[in-house]
Symmetry: C2
Subunit: 646 residues, 2 copies
């Protein structure tokens, strides 16, 4: 359950001057000279600096709490929820620590791996919870080391559940959250940003509200950077708590924990765990409608919105932390009504960045993984350097092999039965494969009435940008040019363009037209003849599964196909077509035919053999039209090819 660890853990405390975060504040002042403070700074600042900068800018934010899933399937769903909710622009998410769920292990349901996935594969600033009671120093240090290695930068330091009914101090162990804070600062210096829990009503086990405040101050003075509070039901509860904290000298950010009531049972469960009392005015509303889930959720949303508004209007609150219970609807609704949900968050780069600190400078990637960024991140996770500024000939260290296509964060969101409905229970020939590609492009239902919303090379429906090419794509797919990646040419659109824009505002973005597809050797033969006419204009790379490959790329140099010009900046060129990495991508692209599609069918079945035939005999082709200011000539290239064939 959300926050269960936090709810049931004791408030410990500590002491620390605010030196650390004030240096953060200074550096964010420097950064505020930057013309694009949010987009760029986001990748370089630590969480406490981001918080401080948003506060200085009067910019409200929100964060989202999740708990680790119980099953592997739930992990797949949670990761795609991260992607969807991440699109709304949370400042961070946090993942609770499940002592019972082997939280530091490599299991796909562990807190550690879920947080790792959020940071590295979803690009989300993430806080990993960690509890300390009933654990040895060595265990804790090992967890922290692992977290650091995985690129996690923030820890929520908690005591955790006592092992017995009654709390007993261990002489040598960690008894309070403050011990964990001190330990992190001792062992890891200033590496981690540390968050601690605050209890607006006082911790249920504390001697008194005042004593609990003193414990909180100790935690802050021991090195915590900010506080997230337990949930509460009335805004004045939080505001009083905040004033009381300030009165005793706690100056770090204090973020209210918001719990939108989503159902009768989850509320009761939470109340039991947190030992909080639900105010009578809320009980009065809820009891009569306790069997009407929708009514309760609506009420919960109303209540949360009005409480959040009051908090924000107080001028004391800059960010709101949501206990999502791993659900999307209520929290998203509240955020949208508050105007905090950023429907169209500006993309800092055209692709989804990873939040691992070592990838901070990464700003160039090959276009091939555009629809499979998680696979790209996985295959480059061992890299020590990331291309920065230019891809270069030398920036092609070996890509890791993609052996396990079923890694939960690379896996299709759709189960086998659904994929069969989309891609065909039974294939009758290459044409039925063409049909699947065509339906994916058009969005029309296939012959059995099912919409094709994903493909082995793209787990999501067609990108808005690709929609610009829809008519042309439909035509060529029907005839066996099976497209898996494409982009239109763009000759200087504003960087704020809702479809193709990215990067800081005030800039201009550009693209060369790109088309990547599988096709038969017959078509390739004709295509190569046609390409001779376009030799100076079109770069091509044509390869089959055996590695036979034909290209006119000069000196195997990368070709920049997306770039942006911004005020006061050097050019940013985040996407290249690189002949060297194309050969790594080729293996993955061909393998997806088998791993994701052929294996849906029985061995030796005609359907499987059709896919196997395509895998063995088709070519993977990429084409770049270098003349971005002119009309895209790639459709003409394909048209000429079909003409030659007729």
């Amino acid at each position: 359950m959300v926050n269960e660890t936090q709810l049931s853990c004791s408030a410990s405390s500590s002491s620390r001057s605010d030196g650390g975060s004030s240096s953060g504040s200074e550096s964010s002042k420097d950064n505020s000279r930057c013309s694009t403070p949010v987009l760029d700074a986001d990748r370089h600042e630590r969480l406490r600096e981001k918080m401080r900068r948003r506060q200085d800018a009067g910019d409200k934010w929100f964060s989202l709490e999740f708990f680790p899933p119980r099953t592997a399937n739930a992990a797949v769903n949670l990761i795609s929820r991260f992607d969807r909710m991440g699109a709304g622009g949370p400042l961070f998410i946090d993942v609770t620590w499940h002592p019972a769920g082997d939280p530091g292990s490599d299991k796909e349901t562990s807190s550690m791996i879920i947080a790792n996935t959020a940071v590295n594969y979803c690009g989300l600033e993430t806080i990993l919870h960690m509890t300390c009671c009933n654990q040895t120093k060595d265990d804790i240090t090992a967890h922290l080391q692992k977290a650091k290695r995985l690129g996690l930068k923030n820890i929520m330091a908690l005591r955790g559940d006592p092992s017995g009914e009654e709390w007993e101090e261990e002489v040598e162990g960690f008894n309070y959250a403050v011990d964990l804070v001190k330990h992190i600062r001792n062992e890891f210096d200033d590496y981690f940003d540390i968050c601690v829990a605050g209890y607006p009503k006082g911790h249920p086990e504390a001697e008194s509200y005042e004593a609990d405040l003193r414990h909180l101050k100790e935690k802050v003075f021991a090195g915590a950077d900010f506080i997230i509070t337990q949930l509460f039901f009335r805004p004045e509860t939080f505001l009083k708590f905040m004033k009381d904290c300030q009165a005793i000298g706690i100056t770090c950010p204090i973020i209210p924990g918001i719990f939108p009531i989503q159902g009768y049972h989850s509320l009761r469960q939470l109340v039991k765990l947190s030992k909080l009392e639900v105010p009578q005015e809320i009980k009065d509303v809820i009891e009569p409608i306790k069997d009407n889930d929708a009514a309760i959720r609506n009420y919960g949303v109303e209540l949360a919105v009005s409480m959040c508004r009051e908090l924000l209007d107080s001028g004391m609150v800059h960010g709101l932390h949501f206990y999502t219970l791993n659900r999307e609807v209520a929290t998203t609704e509240v955020l949208k009504r508050l105007g905090l949900w950023n429907e169209d968050p500006r993309r800092p780069l055209p692709w989804a960045v990873s939040a691992h600190p070592k990838r901070r400078v990464e700003d160039v990637r090959p276009i091939f993984w555009a629809s499979r960024p998680k696979s790209y991140i996985y295959r480059t996770q061992e890299w020590d350097d990331f291309p920065n500024g230019r891809w270069g000939n030398s920036s092609s260290p070996a890509f890791g092999e993609l052996k396990d296509y079923y890694l939960f964060y690379l896996k299709s969101k759709s189960p086998r039965e659904e994929l069969l409905k989309m891609w065909g229970e039974e294939l009758t020939g290459e044409e039925s494969v063409f049909e699947v590609f065509t339906c994916y492009i058009t969005g029309e239902p296939n012959r059995n009435g099912y919409k094709v919303t994903c493909m082995p090379w793209n787990d999501d429906p067609l990108a808005t940008e690709t929609n610009l090419l829809k008519d042309e794509l439909e035509k060529v797919n029907r005839r066996g040019i099976l497209t898996i990646n494409s982009q239109p040419n763009i000759n200087g659109k504003p960087s704020t363009d809702p479809i193709v824009g990215w990067g800081p505002s005030g800039g201009y973005v550009f693209q060369k037209a790109y088309l990547e597809f599988f096709t038969s050797s017959e078509i390739v033969t004709a295509l190569l003849k046609v390409l001779k006419k376009y030799e100076l204009r079109v770069n091509y790379h044509i390869v089959n599964v055996k590695g036979q490959n034909i290209t006119n790329a000069p000196d195997l140099q990368p070709n920049a196909v997306t770039w942006g010009i911004f005020p006061g900046r050097e050019i940013i060129q985040p996407t290249v077509v690189d002949p060297v990495s194309f050969l790594y991508w080729k293996d993955e692209a061909f393998a997806l035919w088998i791993e994701q599609w052929a294996k849906l069918y029985e061995e030796e079945s005609p359907s499987r053999m059709i896919i196997q035939y395509i895998h063995d005999n088709y070519y993977l082709v990429n084409l770049v039209d270098n003349d971005f200011p002119l009309e895209n000539c790639l459709w003409q290239v394909v048209e000429d090819t079909f003409e030659l064939l007729n």
Copy 2:
């Protein structure tokens, strides 16, 4: 005299397989896959590879021989001749070795320093001659080491003059050019490309023509990469020699030395030194016109053109080597008539590149030194790395100080008297300074009837590109916006554009509008108010001599102001406005007021005090309009500033 060393030196010989140059040829085959073979390869290939590639491509070329000057003033003139003749596109130049002139020293007239200047400051592929007789091994090794350190990559290995009248072998010394070739290969392995001399008529001291050919073969087999011949008067002389060389197994390139007859006396002098006989048919023409220099030169040009045509038409000759006698007219005329002079050589980058091997990758520079590339090269000569791809915040190592503004290769081509005529024998106030700037822009004569063809910040007349801004520049200079650097905005012109184009063909070049000027503090105050309106559009940097400085550059990041998009390449962004290096430039820009202008006048004179006042009180301003697709707003900024002042 041109080639005097070579003329009088004995033909020595050696042996070596052609392995070295055949590996060169292989690598040039790789490079020939490049879509822009000449422009890019030029910076990465060694001379023998360039030669081979041009030959394979059926591309004829020429080279130019110079001798070191006798005086410092002549050195200034020779360097500007290198710049002018370099613009015609020679494959290389060579500088003869003057044993009498302390050729390896640091004097500005030494062979070593002239060759160094040609390579580093003029960006010319250069061969340094070197003679070996009467020198110790250690001397020679020291010369070679120095040459290598300075970035010289090619040596013409010669014997040199005997010390007495008669040739005497030294037992331990170097007696023949072949000894020098062997020594270079022993001590420096394959670092240098080595050239040796060939004698189409046989060396005058050789026992026989055949013996001389054998000596030549020995030189080649000892490690020489190619041969340049002594001059000759009839094409058949060379063609026979070439066939004879091939017959005995010499396969390396043999380049005919062409001597356009430029005057009666220089011809006689040369004939005496080289012990060559002038054919009767030439004597018959020359003797009657021996006092008519123009007639002799015309005849010499005719003769050279017809001989060169015959050589090129033979199909055996791919390059022509010209003995220029340090003169421009005749050689340039011959080259133009042969169609070899490349009037509009494609610029690989918008600025003049240096040919030092360590600067091979350099492709970004701050815009400030656009008119003073030699000063930029001088101030960065100690750098070990050069920015490549992006300037970056970290690419700002310390610039060397420019202490000696009178270094011969940084010095104004014009003597003091001429500068005074241009810039005013006597200044009457700041306005008379405005007038000088205005005359430089308009090309109109100043009040004393002299054209202002250079300024302290620019030793050449206005660039063609700046001419695009002429009217606007004139207006603002008249009113005290004293411009020293500017470029128009360019929104995607073809890279082959004769005025603003650069880089490989098939690309598009872009620029942000840039304006840099000195102006009074009164104007700066108004300007700053106006710039508030343009905050998001215009980046500015304003600084005075004391270092007080005001900028809105985000995070002190560089701003790319010139970039190009090419087929199959990453983006190239060769020019940036970098706030950090601007502070280094500022020192130089202010110092030029004093060093080049104020010091023309007596101390305490009113003219000197006017310049000193400007130096002490004016600001140096640079402005970038980031909105390159829109009309340049910088003129409006200046207009608004003047309006505010009125």
